[in-house]
């Protein structure tokens, strides 16, 4: 049997050479065990060399060279078990079994061994060489826990190391350990969890049949693992073995008999046996002083303040206010620099490219579009600084705990609070902030709902409309829009929960890690990864989107206009300077661009689909504004400025635009447009972020369709009510 194992380790795919130049190591552990920090330390936080995109999660891949060996490290999502219940668990398991992994490094929270080792009890059955790391050993020391490495190592069948990843301690020893394990081809003593006689008999029976059905394809470890998973009733493995009716029937019978004899489902008999094994190990290898209070003292003290019945929520709101203010007020300063920088680049490039098609494409399409997205960068950096701070200190879990009751009323997770509040600033970081929600379903609901929050880009639209149509009550109207956005987000969450997304009952159980001092390094890495991700993926979509919109606006070229504006402008320019001279030229220029817009593809599309919006009393001009708002909501104001032939550089507070606009709609129609603008499709940047965060165009498309439907039906109700009232 050892021979089979050796071949397995040597990787038969590797052309017969037993020593590979490159090995793949997969890091597995619970959430909050410091796995990612450890990975960054191991690889000196080198740029990620790529990802393994999976269906629900992406496995980050980083690499390093140690002692002449190329080591590729794979980060897996934090998990508590290896069942097939969640996507994270399934995909970690699949990766381990894919044959791509050579060594498993199981990262354990040294101060929380008993719970951490439950996952270990499942990992060691997978039959790969394993290393164990007691991370955050400083915490264990501060609690005066002594851990017998040697004893633990012999019980687990693999070497045990100690590390403090945040300080970079124990990293070299661990890398040495990987290299040693690979070079010596140290195959761990196979560890068999001692199940009781009944379970063991069932495992053997099933294993024998598995062997017969798959001759030569599994070694002892693998077939045993498969047998155990079958007996545990693992949905995925049952489906995988679905063709062997005979096997399934036997498994079913064994499960039924065991459950009947023990008064408990088979799956939990195995779990109990695992916990028994773990408890035995911890009792033997971990020694705690008798006086140990169990939990860290200062965590207790801090919790008494932060989770206080009356102080807890005001403190949370205060901290969120600071985060929000910093993100958007502090962010404005570098935003100004970026805008200025983009302006300078634009001007410089403009002076080097002769006027014409390329000039327009580069300036109006590419630089304007990408620059428009880049201005969000300061927001994202500051937001993720705070997010990293909250999650590294352990406060995030506390915030979720405090708010869970209120959020739960709408079918949301406590952690959804932060993305929703961020949404008031900008939906892009809001969608990114949903990463902290582990439960996939809750996260998807939050992603779909957070674009309804009235972001700062939509505010100019409402300021313009409120000012133009509601005069004295303008402030009240804007406030009403904020109120509406919250109500609709909450109602949408309830609707999504009840109707659209499948309801599976995942209990809300969340670990509250001890408070930890974040290291600057960890916060920086956390931020850096997010920022890089934002720049790469979002910028790509934005670039394409901006070019498309530019094209639609700029083409077809050389259409015959009703009026020869250029000639008239030229005529004015040749005339001696007179009163109203500049105003007249500007007015002509605006009239020209208005007519160009009308004849552009964008204008034609707007006129073609205007009938769709006619029940909402939108004109084709409103439709153009709606279409350009897809790129970014603040563009709506700029579009109206062009549509109503206003001067360049019009802002939402412009008197003349207000006056021009106020004659085109009734207040009810304006309110209808405001409701529509609040809800309809997220902007391009948000759509791109949703695609990236939710893992596919389907979710992005879903978000667009869902919000468009909601926007249309609600606006329709508003105009109907308006019709009846007035």
């Amino acid at each position: 049997m050892n021979k089979i194992k050796d071949e397995f380790i040597a990787d038969p795919k590797n052309g017969g050479s037993p020593i590979k130049k490159k090995i793949t190591v997969v890091l597995v552990g619970n959430p909050n065990c410091g796995k990612t920090t450890l990975l960054n330390r191991l690889t000196h936080s080198k740029e990620s060399v790529g990802n393994y995109p999976r269906v629900t999660v992406t496995l980050a891949r980083k690499s390093c060279v140690h002692d002449g060996l190329h080591i590729e490290l794979i980060d897996t999502p934090g998990i508590y078990a290896l069942t097939s219940q969640s996507g994270e668990e399934r995909e970690t398991r699949e990766f381990i079994h894919s044959g791509q992994a050579d060594i498993i490094v199981n990262v354990l929270d040294a101060g929380n061994l008993e719970r951490s080792l439950f996952l270990t009890s499942q990992l060691i059955e997978m039959g790969l060489p394993m290393l164990f790391v007691l991370n955050m050993s400083d915490e264990a020391h501060s609690r005066q826990l002594t851990i017998d490495h040697h004893g633990l190592s012999s019980m687990l069948g693999g070497p045990v190391y100690e590390s403090i990843a945040t300080r970079g301690e124990g990293i070299k020893a661990l890398l040495d350990g990987m290299v040693h394990m690979h070079r010596q081809k140290v195959s761990p003593e196979p560890v068999f969890l001692p199940y009781d006689a009944h379970l063991e008999r069932a495992v053997e029976k099933v294993q024998r049949l598995v062997f017969e059905l798959h001759p030569g394809s599994f070694d002892h470890n693998q077939s045993r693992w498969l047998a155990i998973k079958l007996l545990e009733g693992d949905d995925q493995i049952l489906v995988q073995e679905g063709e062997h009716a005979h096997l399934l029937e036997m498994v079913h019978r064994q499960r039924y008999d065991l459950a009947r004899d023990h008064g408990e489902e088979c799956e939990f008999l195995f779990a109990a046996a695992r916990y028994g094994f773990v408890h035995g190990m911890v009792t033997e290898a971990v020694h705690a002083p008798k006086t140990a209070t169990g939990f860290l003292d200062w965590t207790n003290r801090l919790d008494r303040i932060f989770l206080h019945r009356f102080l807890g929520i005001p403190l949370l709101l205060g901290l969120l206010w600071i985060m929000f203010q910093s993100t958007f007020s502090l962010g404005e300063i570098p935003m100004g620099w970026i805008e200025a920088g983009v302006g300078w680049i634009s001007a410089t490039v403009a002076s080097h490219i002769p006027a014409g098609l390329v000039h327009d494409l580069v300036i109006d399409g590419i630089i304007a579009g990408v620059g428009g997205t880049l201005v969000f960068l300061p927001n994202i950096i500051i937001l993720f600084f705070f997010m990293a701070l909250f999650s590294e200190t352990g406060y995030l879990a506390r915030a979720a705990f405090l708010m869970d009751r209120s959020m739960h009323a709408f079918g949301l997770h406590g952690k959804a609070l932060i993305p929703l509040i961020m949404g008031f600033g900008c939906n892009v970081p809001a969608v990114m902030a949903t990463r902290t929600i582990e439960d996939h379903r809750s996260r998807m609901i939050t992603i779909l709902v957070s674009p309804f929050m009235l972001c700062s880009a939509r505010l100019p639209v409402f300021i313009l409309f409120a000012g133009a149509f509601f005069g004295e009550q303008a402030g009240l109207m804007v406030l009403l829009m904020y109120f509406l956005s919250i109500v609709i987000a909450m109602v949408a969450a309830v609707v999504l929960n009840r109707l659209i997304l499948r309801r599976d009952e995942n209990p809300f159980v969340m670990e509250l890690p001890p408070y930890r001092l974040p290291t600057l390094r960890a916060v920086m890495i956390h931020m850096g990864d997010r920022v890089a991700g934002f720049l790469q993926k979002v910028a790509g979509v934005i670039l394409v989107g901006s070019i498309v919109i530019w094209y639609l606006q700029a083409f077809p070229r050389h259409e015959i206009l009703n009026h020869d504006y250029d000639a008239e402008i030229a005529r004015f320019q040749h005339m001696p300077e007179a009163v109203m001279y500049h105003e007249t030229i500007n007015a002509l220029k605006m009239k020209k661009s208005q007519e160009e817009l009308e004849q552009s593809y964008l204008g034609r599309i707007a006129q073609a689909i205007a009938p769709v919006f006619s029940p909402l009393h939108f004109t084709w001009k409103d439709t153009v504004a709606v279409l350009t708002g897809f790129v970014a909501k603040e563009v709506v104001v700029a579009s109206y400025a062009v549509l109503y032939a206003q001067n360049d550089g019009v802002k939402e507070r412009s008197e003349s635009l207000r006056r021009a606009l106020s004659t085109t709609m009734t207040p009810w129609e304006a309110f209808t447009f405001m409701v529509f603008a609040l809800l309809y499709a997220p902007c391009l940047g948000t759509i791109a972020t949703i695609r990236k965060e939710a893992g596919g165009w389907i979710w992005a498309g879903y978000s667009v369709v869902f919000s468009l439907t909601l926007a249309y039906s609600l606006s329709l109700s508003v105009i109907w009510i308006g019709g009846m009232v007035s």
């Binding site: 439950f118 939990f268 989770l307």
Partner: protein
């Protein structure tokens, strides 16, 4: 005397007897260390009474009352 975990008051400890409810519920709780025979203590209550913080296996977790309802305990 058998109780539901929700019936314990802050500071009280119980020994876990069993978990009822759906298989998913049971799986998730099992993975988090909620298993028969382990001691569990109520540590804190959220401002609105739900969820609550428990300590089990030497760590802390937050659980909603509707989930704690599915766990039966014996007072110790």
């Amino acid at each position: 005397m058998e109780y539901r975990l929700v019936d314990l008051k802050p500071g009280e400890t119980g020994k876990i007897k069993g978990i009822s409810g759906s298989i998913n519920n049971k799986r998730r709780l099992t993975a988090m260390g909620i298993v028969q025979g382990k001691e569990i203590t109520v540590e804190m209550i959220a401002p609105m009474g739900d969820p609550r913080i428990y300590s089990v296996l030497g760590y802390r977790l937050s659980m909603r009352n509707e989930d704690a309802q599915t766990i039966s305990v014996v007072r110790t």
